[in-house]
Symmetry: C3
Subunit: 273 residues, 3 copies
């Protein structure tokens, strides 16, 4: 059951180094704290190797790239890889600009990531070298549905095998796959897309889950995805008519803060293919 | 009526590129989502032209300038202008430092903005080349009042004509003007000034409104200003005695999220001069 | 009584220049507004001297250092010192990386700070030149307890004397000391450590309190520390079972917003040694 992976985060409280965009960084820090782990941020080339060395996981998010932060991503990734740390990549906007696509691609070439977490269009841009991404959100042509589920599960497994890591492809239906197995997850609510950074938050959360469960990256990533989606459901249940996306953002993080393994086990909605 | 301009944002869901300060960027993203549009942030010279090309509006906010972000502003502004996009400038702290004043001035020289949104002292600094701005908030000597209203309406129209764009000059009374007409808007509450970034948020919101209503920039800007002020009134009506500026921030964004054209039409308080 | 120091902030509304990390910057701005002061952020070398000149206090936080922001810290600190401004240093992560430790040390060599605010391990790293800091939070070996209180009070006074400034060493028990006196403060709750940036917020708040009470830096810093801790207690009293760390963050800032001198005087829990 997935609940134990969450419990392990609370027990071990892993320290996660984040090189992440400045739009959603505060929420990423707070959701990492909410699940029982600790965040630290640093994106200066002269600082990142020291910082990543005291952590057990590195979460790289390319949402607002800068020349020096790209240099930091490479330095930190190599250091973290050499230390056997968990490495998570969130390729925000891959496919939407050349810089984003090539930065993600060059990081993937340089080191072995443990997990790539993105929406369908971002992962397609990386997997297929396509340029079809429209902005940072999954668009209609790039959505996992019940109709195309078999095909998308196959895509996720195929890309996981090619990239030699776990893939978390999130949207209305979430797929978490390695080369041989795929979790099809149906937690979450559509209103979550009206909040900036739920994807970024999930990547940070995933880094914490994998860091606390390094022997089970597939299951830990699935647990993180279910935790985020279930938090979206629980948080929504406390919304009042006057509440909107800003309050919802708080309610989701709050729901992660209050979640335990048993709640997660009861609320997780998934099948394995 | 102004409500249709909000409804158009929800229908068209324009993608808005923001080069904005890192203090309030998360709230800017969430309020753009709250009104039904989509935000994307990028401020790296190697990235901005690609990103702005997939958008329909560019919102430039000079709140925390950096050498490279200034370069990005120029690159993105030229690209956006060449594509016929909506261009919004928020000259945060113009008049408070040489760098801010000259950056705003050089952007205004280089391209035609659709809208400049600032407080009285910032706009005076740009219009008059003065250095009288004390910080980033309107100060007592620089406030629109019923006593100086005729004079300030005239200033707004005159500057709108000189700059060849729409001017939104916000404070206790908001003025939204082009060369010939001026909306005098009396929505909002004084407590909004105890939240960081309500001005930045309004600039992002305005970019979304103008992007969805490109043929009516004056009316769209007035609708955005009324939406923000009315959200301040509605949000405040849900405050409890123990709530303060942090909760109020959430309530305002929530109120935008829940607002529709009919609510805006009923709540907007303005006259046209 | 400490309440008057808070009242002075509300009366004088000092403008505080912050060069601070991008993780918690929005909360720092909102808590400075909550206590009645005004924040302004700028970290570009070409901008900081102008900006710091219109302020009365400078708050430097090294949480996410960058090459150019370090240059800005030195420029702004020298300018602020030459103008007789309040200078606050928050050495986030000193001891955790060479860059952070040396940046804090070189700033302390260059100018006289009015206040250094950090956790025990950060201050030990600066005072002892040690490298024992594990991340940015006080760890078990570095916590002030009733058992080691005499020793830690002595450490705080000794370091305050050596650094010739006020020291605020925060954790479960907070110590605010100059060379001869030490406030031992027992406000706050352990749940505050599950929110990112309560330390950063306290440093911003302290800068505002010292700016409004420049003749009483020890007492003003103690008042800021009590205000933050008491806000943590009051904010917690309004939490519902479904609330978590994200809502708690808002409640703490809200509680500062609603606090007056009388509330602070009644709720402050301290002794002077």
């Amino acid at each position: 059951m997935l609940g134990e992976y969450l419990e392990n985060v609370r027990k071990k409280s892993p320290l996660v180094h984040n090189i992440t965009n400045y739009v959603t960084v505060n929420d990423v820090a707070n959701i990492i704290l909410a699940c029982g782990a600790s965040p630290i941020m640093s994106d200066e080339p002269d600082d990142v190797e020291d910082i990543t060395s005291i952590c057990v996981a590195l979460n790289i998010n390319i949402g607002t790239l800068r020349k020096r932060s790209i240099e930091s991503m490479h330095l930190a990734a190599k250091k973290a890889a050499s230390l056997g740390h968990i490495l998570v990549l969130d390729p925000v906007g891959a496919g939407a600009s050349t810089l984003r696509t090539t930065t993600a691609a060059s990081l993937l070439e340089e080191v072995s990531f443990t997990l790539i977490r993105g929406n369908v269009s971002e992962l397609k841009a990386l997997a297929l070298g396509s340029r079809s991404t429209k902005g940072v959100d999954a668009d209609a042509a790039d959505v996992v549905t019940d109709e195309n589920l078999d095909q998308m599960v196959n895509f996720a497994k195929t890309y996981a095998k090619a990239a030699d890591c776990v893939i978390a492809m999130t949207g209305a239906i979430d797929l978490v796959a390695n080369a041989s197995s795929c979790y099809v997850i149906r937690n979450g609510r559509k209103e979550m897309s009206s909040i900036t950074g739920t994807g970024c938050q999930l990547s940070g959360l995933s880094a914490a889950f994998l860091a606390a469960n390094p022997e089970h990256p597939l299951e830990a990533a699935a647990a993180a995805v279910c935790t985020m989606g279930l938090a979206g459901e629980i948080g929504y249940s406390y919304m009042h008519p006057e509440d909107g996306n800003s309050t919802y953002r708080n309610r989701i993080i709050d729901a992660v803060y209050n979640m335990n393994g048993s709640t997660l086990d009861k609320g997780a909605k998934y099948e394995i293919r």
